[in-house]
């Protein structure tokens, strides 16, 4: 297990003079922390490691500042030199160094007083342990560095929290497939197959290689090889178009969401429909009440409110009277009452000379007197009861009208809401909404079209590869026939048996790895990221990492930044478990995007997952490294360094915490 034992930083950017960082190599205390505030040199520390190993500073690409520390720079006299140097010691324990990488560059003050790098002064060297456990100079320091920390998969051991959150946002499939292949040493297998093929060819003499049968098979293999290469290019182009369509779709989807945030047109229209139905229902109920407000007339006691109602009531009373249902005396009393009280039961003023009074009087004069009239006139008490009855009906009438008014109020509110909804609908730029929606649907169709095409090309390449494999086997048979010498024939067979075995293994291995990494990513993700909508993480056949909900919809784009970072971290760690890749993990900004509510769960998950591997966490003091994180990591903490930005000088002071 390779661990970082020490890192020496000399005069590199904010680190003035010699700065030694020693790290814990204990398996129990495998978490080392470097924390700093803004400008403290946390990210610069990572750049120092990257510069030492690969000669590149990922976070300083655009910087024009000199690499030499400002204080060292200021102290330089004319023609003096100063070195910037980084050393990384690797091994299992502090006293067992396996490997040392050292990069150095010299700066000098020229005659113009400017500090510049001395030409060709940058030197990179490596020492590696030989079979006798002696540290010897490596033949090629770059190759050695790449074996311990392969630059092409730098992002798989130097995790950048901010980059992880967008890791799968673009080129998802390619990144997932490459990460799996790179981390599982599949390139060793590729190289072995390629070398075996070359060696196998050497068994046949140059003369025999001109055999016509062999030439024919070779022509087929050559044809298939160039066809596979062409299809490979076509696949790349289609993948590019597909990814383009996906990016386009994601952007339009985002735009649609922004437009929807003003108020979803469809939702508003649905609301509008709902309130229109309510309005129609209320209108019907109102009409029904309006019709039923004369029902009391049929119950014997007329209550009249206005001229129209009066006319209507009189008509109904006449009808009842004619049919014999209503005694004629009631009619007379009713009319008298109207005339006496003027407006006791009627909202229409029956003032003298008014049209309504004239109408009532005319009607009274026409009213036939019944034979019961004298008796009724005597029965004042009955008339009183009738008046009381009228009052009670009047109360009922009030209730009735209250209902009508309530419905009218509801109707008014409903109309108000509808007006508001109409305005909101008007405010949505309907044209833009619909056009973005249409473009989004088009982009989705394009994405699906190109995805299908990629699938078709992939399967076609696969078919060609199978054919090529069949021709290669046929070639092996021909070659075997051509080899006359038995010993050579046997050796040729050994070579080809191994070749065929490795080719078969290559295919099945990738499928197995994909399935297992998927399972492990699920386990880790579920332990660390609280997102109830995500049912499972899937790596599709074409290596797209997806977060599926209960409807098997990929909701990866809807995950928060913290959740995306959690998912990428889960995937990276799942990969490592299968890779036997032993380098330490350098994790920058691991907690910054993680929701504070789920942070303790995330740390717990990291503690469960990151066992048997040395980890260097680069944390922001206070935000990511507060008392709660200290307590949660306490049992696993190795060495903690604080980088303090000096207030007086341009340097970071290194404070080692126990």
């Amino acid at each position: 297990m390779t661990k970082i034992l020490n890192i020496n930083i000399e005069n590199y950017r904010p680190f003035y003079g010699h700065n030694n960082f020693e790290f814990s190599t204990s398996d129990e205390k495998n978490f080392n922390v470097i924390f700093a505030g803004t400008g403290g040199g946390k990210t610069t520390f990572l750049d120092a490691i990257s510069w030492c190993l690969f000669g590149k500073e990922p976070h300083k690409e655009l910087s024009t500042e000199s690499m030499l520390n400002d204080i060292a720079d200021a102290k330089l006299k004319n023609k003096d030199t100063a070195d910037v140097a980084i050393e990384i010691f690797l091994g299992n324990k502090q006293d067992e160094i396996d490997c040392v990488f050292r990069r150095r560059i010299t700066f000098f003050k020229n005659s113009l007083g400017k500090v510049v790098p001395l030409p060709n002064s940058e030197h990179f060297s490596a020492k590696i342990k030989d079979t006798r456990n002696n540290l010897i100079d490596a033949a090629d320091a770059n190759i050695s560095a790449n074996y311990v920390f392969p630059e092409k998969i730098q992002h798989l051991f130097m995790f950048d929290g901010e980059k992880l959150e967008t890791f799968f946002d673009s080129d998802n499939m390619k990144k997932t497939e490459n990460a799996i292949k790179d981390m599982t040493q599949m390139d060793q297998l590729d190289n072995a197959i390629s070398h075996l093929k070359n060696v196998s060819r050497e068994f046949v003499s140059k003369k025999d290689q001109e055999n016509s049968e062999l030439a024919e098979v070779d022509a087929y293999i050559g044809g298939l090889t160039s066809r596979i290469a062409d299809k490979g290019l076509q696949k790349k182009e289609t993948e590019f178009k597909r990814d383009d369509a996906k990016t386009n779709f994601d952007q339009l989807d985002e735009k649609l969401r922004t437009l929807n945030s003003k108020g979803d047109l469809e939702q508003l229209l649905a609301e509008q429909r709902k309130f229109e139905e309510k309005r129609s229902d209320l209108t019907k109920r109102l009409a029904d009440l309006e019709n039923r407000k004369f029902d009391h007339l049929l119950k014997g006691i007329p209550i009249i409110f206005c001229r129209t109602e009066l006319e209507d009531a009189i008509k109904k009373i006449d009808k009842k009277y004619e049919s014999g249902e209503l005694p004629p005396d009631v009619k007379i009393e009713f009319i008298d009452k109207l005339l006496q009280k003027k407006r006791c039961i009627c909202h229409t003023d029956l003032i003298d000379g008014s049209a309504a009074r004239k109408f009532v009087e005319a009607y009274r004069n026409k009213a036939p007197l019944s034979k019961y009239e004298p008796d009724i006139r005597k029965c004042h008490s009955e008339i009183k009861i009738m008046i009381r009855g009228i009052s009670s009906f009047f109360e009922k009438r009030k209730e009735f009208y209250q209902q009508i008014n309530e419905i009218k109020d509801q109707l008014f509110d409903t109309r108000q809401i509808l007006e508001k909804l109409e305005k909101q609908i008007e405010n949505i730029d309907d044209k833009e909404f619909q056009s973005v929606k249409a473009m989004r649907e088009f982009a989705l169709r394009e994405f699906q079209k190109y995805s299908t095409k990629v699938g078709e090309i992939t399967s076609s390449i696969h078919d060609d590869e199978l054919s090529k494999l069949a021709f290669e086997k046929a070639r092996q048979k021909i070659e075997k026939k051509l080899i006359k010498n038995d010993e050579m024939k046997k050796k040729f067979e050994i070579c080809n048996t191994a070749l065929n075995f490795l080719q078969e293994s290559q295919k099945s291995l990738l499928i197995e790895l994909k399935t297992d990494i998927e399972t492990r990513t699920n386990e880790i993700y579920k332990k660390s990221v609280l997102e109830p909508r995500v049912e499972k993480i899937v790596i599709s056949e074409d290596f797209e990492l997806q977060a599926l909900d209960s409807n098997n919809e990929n909701i990866y784009p809807q995950l928060s930044k913290g959740q995306k970072q959690g998912l990428a971290t889960a995937f990276m760690i799942a990969l490592r478990k299968d890779s036997d890749f032993e380098s330490p993990i350098l994790f920058d900004y691991p907690l910054g995007r993680i929701d504070p509510d789920t942070r303790s769960e995330f740390i717990k998950a990291l503690k469960n997952i990151l066992t048997g591997v040395q980890v260097l966490f680069f944390l922001i003091g206070g935000t990511e490294w507060s008392d709660s994180e200290k307590i949660q990591m306490k049992d696993r903490l190795g060495i903690v360094y604080e980088l303090k930005k000096s207030k007086i000088e341009k340097r970071s002071e290194v404070v080692k915490h126990a």
């Binding site: 060696v199 046997k490 050796k491 075995f501 490795l502």
Partner: protein, 64 residues
């Protein structure tokens, strides 16, 4: 220094029906591929491994 060979691949080799000398041969060529900082001369190294596997097979055949 060497980089580890994928454990699954090693398991596949061990569990395969290949003859032991060929299993060893496959493992050895993967070892060659995993060696740090030693580029080139693969042909010679491979041929040496084939030779070893051949001798082992011959010995096994004679013993049988």
């Amino acid at each position: 220094m060497k980089i580890k060979i994928n454990q699954r691949l090693l398991n596949k080799i061990s569990n395969s029906d290949l003859d032991d000398p060929i299993k060893k041969f496959v493992k050895n060529i993967l070892e060659i591929e995993s060696e740090i900082g030693k580029g080139g001369q693969f042909s010679e190294k491979y041929k040496a491994e084939i030779e070893k596997a051949y001798l082992l097979l011959e010995r096994t055949d004679k013993n049988d």
